[in-house]
Symmetry: C2
Subunit: 335 residues, 2 copies
Amino acid sequence: MVKITDVAAHAGVSPSTVSYALSGKRPISQETRLRIERSIRELGYRPHAGARSLASSRARVLALVLPLRRGMHVPVVMQFATSVVTAARDHDHDVLLLTGSEGEEGLIRVSHSAMADTFVIMDVEVDDRRLPLLRTLDQPSVLIGYPADPTGLTCVDLDFRQAAQACVDHLAALGHRRVALVGSHPEVYVRGTGFARRVAAGFTAAADRHGLASSVHPCADTPVAARALAERLVREQPGLTAVVVHNEPIVQPLVEALTALGLRVPQDVSVAAICPDEIAEPAATPITSVSLPTALVGARAVELLMSKLQGAAVPETTMLPVHLTVRATTAPPPA
Amino acid sequence: MVKITDVAAHAGVSPSTVSYALSGKRPISQETRLRIERSIRELGYRPHAGARSLASSRARVLALVLPLRRGMHVPVVMQFATSVVTAARDHDHDVLLLTGSEGEEGLIRVSHSAMADTFVIMDVEVDDRRLPLLRTLDQPSVLIGYPADPTGLTCVDLDFRQAAQACVDHLAALGHRRVALVGSHPEVYVRGTGFARRVAAGFTAAADRHGLASSVHPCADTPVAARALAERLVREQPGLTAVVVHNEPIVQPLVEALTALGLRVPQDVSVAAICPDEIAEPAATPITSVSLPTALVGARAVELLMSKLQGAAVPETTMLPVHLTVRATTAPPPA
DNA sequence: GTGAAAGCGCTAACAA
DNA sequence: TTGTTAGCGCTTTCAC
C-alpha cells in the first residue's frame, strides 16, 4: 500500500506538505505542488479513508436512508438514489446505504461511529419517529418530504400541491365540471407520508376554487385495484369527465380499465397523471402529466448538506417546482 | 464522544480488554465481560469506524456496485440491493453504494483507500472491462452474473437457462408445437449481459429437444414495442400458439396486446413469463411464470464474501435454482 | 513556503 | 485471564 510518507519521499518534501497540497489548506509553491501531483500519479496514491477520518473527523461519506415499503414507486426511489450518489461524488463524497427498516438504531450507529458526516433521509412521515433524534445528531441531515414540524431541520421536496393544482387548472380550463383524484396506496395516507396529503389538499383546494365537484380515492397499486376503482367511479359518478392519477404503477392500468368500460380517453373522459415522464410518454396514448424531476431533489439535498457542512445557514424548507405537459389524454368534456 | 478508554475506565479494565470483549478474539471471564457490556450500554459507546479500520485493516464495509442502465428492471435491482444490505447487516457490515458508471476508477478508489473490504458487482457483462482489475484487487469480490471466463472470480446468478427450459418443457407438455421468446431490450444483448443470452440459449435448446419450432425476439421495454412485436408475431407466425416473455415491464402489455389482436389468453395463445411473482400474481389473469428469487442472490453473495474474508475457498460459480408456477395464462393449444 | 511531531481511537502483539 | 504499549496513516498545530 502506498502511503503519504511514500509520496513525500518520492517528491522530496515532508508528509505535511503532501497533505496540504491535497487539501489546499495552505499555499504551496507552484513547483512543489506539481512535483507532488506527479508523485501521487506515479505511485497511484490514495489516502487511507480510515486514517483520514480519524485524524480529521471527516469521513467524506454521506449516509442515505432509503424506504423500502409498500406504496413507494421503486423506479422513483432508485432515480433519486442515483442522483444523490452522483451529486455526492461531485463533492468527493461516497454514499453509505441504509434501509429505513434499521430505524433510529441505524442512524445512531452510523452517527456515533463517525462512519458518515451527513445524512439524507428519504420518505419522511408527518410525525416521523426519527425527527427528535435527527435534531440532536452531530451530523447535519436533509429530509426528503415534509414533517408536521420542520423546525430545526432541513427539508426538500417537490411541490406536490402545485402538481395537483396544475392538473385541476388544466382540466377546469378545458371545461370539466366534475373531477376525481385517484391517489396513492391507502397505507401511504395512514402512515402520514406528506406528499400524498399535499396532493389531496392541492387537488381539493383547486377544485373548490374553480367550483368543480371533486372526490379523492386512495387506491392500491395493482391493475386489479385500478379496475375495481374505475368501475366504482363510473357507476357512482355519472357526471365524471376527468380523472387525476397520482399512483405510478396504475396510471396505465387505469387508462385501460376506463377504456374497457367503454369510455374513450380523452373523448369521454380525460386523464391527467402525476408521474415520471418515463411512464407518461411511452404509453400507447401519451399521457398528459405533471412530471416529477426527482433527480433534482437528490442534487439539491446534497448541495444543502455541503453548505451545512461548511457552517452556512440553509432554509428549513425547499420546494422544487414541477411542470405540466399536455399530451393526448386530456380534452374538453363530451358535449 | 465516548471512546474505548472511557469504557475501560468505567468498567475498571484496560482498553485492550474492552477491545477483546468486543471482538471475542480472546477469552474474557464471564464477570468482566458483563461489567464491560454494562459500561458500553450505559455510556452508549460505539467504536470509531475510522480508528478501527486503521488499526485492524478491516472497514466492515461492503461496496455494492449497481447498474443503472437501459434494460434493467429497476424493482429487481432494488430488491437485490435490499437483500444485500440486510445480509451485510447480519454480518455487522455496512454497505457503500457505487454506481456502475464510475467504472474501474471507482473500484480502484474504494479499494486503495480501504473504504471497503469486499465488493459485490451487479450486472456483469460477458466481457466486462472490470474483470482483470477485480482479479488483482486486495479485497475479495462476488459478481452477479456470469462473464465468459470466471477463472479466479466468484460468480452467483439465477439459473436462467433452467428458467427458459422450464417454460418450454411446460408448453411442450401441453402440446404446443411452435413457441416464441420475447426477450430483453436489444441493448442488453448487444452489451452481452449473460442472463439474456442464457435465457435465449436455454429456450432454443429446450425447443429443439422437444422438436418445437422456435424463434427469439429481443424487445424494447415499452407497451408500444410490445404491441408492435405482438402484431408482427401474429402476422408472420400463423401457427404460433405459445409465447415466453423475459422482459418484466412488458409482460402485462404483451398479454394485453395479444388480447387486443383478438387472441384469447390462454385459449388461443399461451403466455409464460420469467419475472418476479409481484408481476405475475396480481395480473387480471394471473400469469404462469418462473419466479426469480432475487433476494436469495444477494444473501448468497454476501455469504460467499464473508467466507472469502475468512480465507475459505468458495466455488467459482453458483447457480441458484428457479421454479415454475402454473397460473392462468397457459393451456393446451386450440384444436 | 515548508518541516517536525503530536495525536486521532483503536487493535494486536508482547508480557505477565 | 488481563494489562502495557507500539503502531495503523493521516491531519494539524507549532515552529522556522
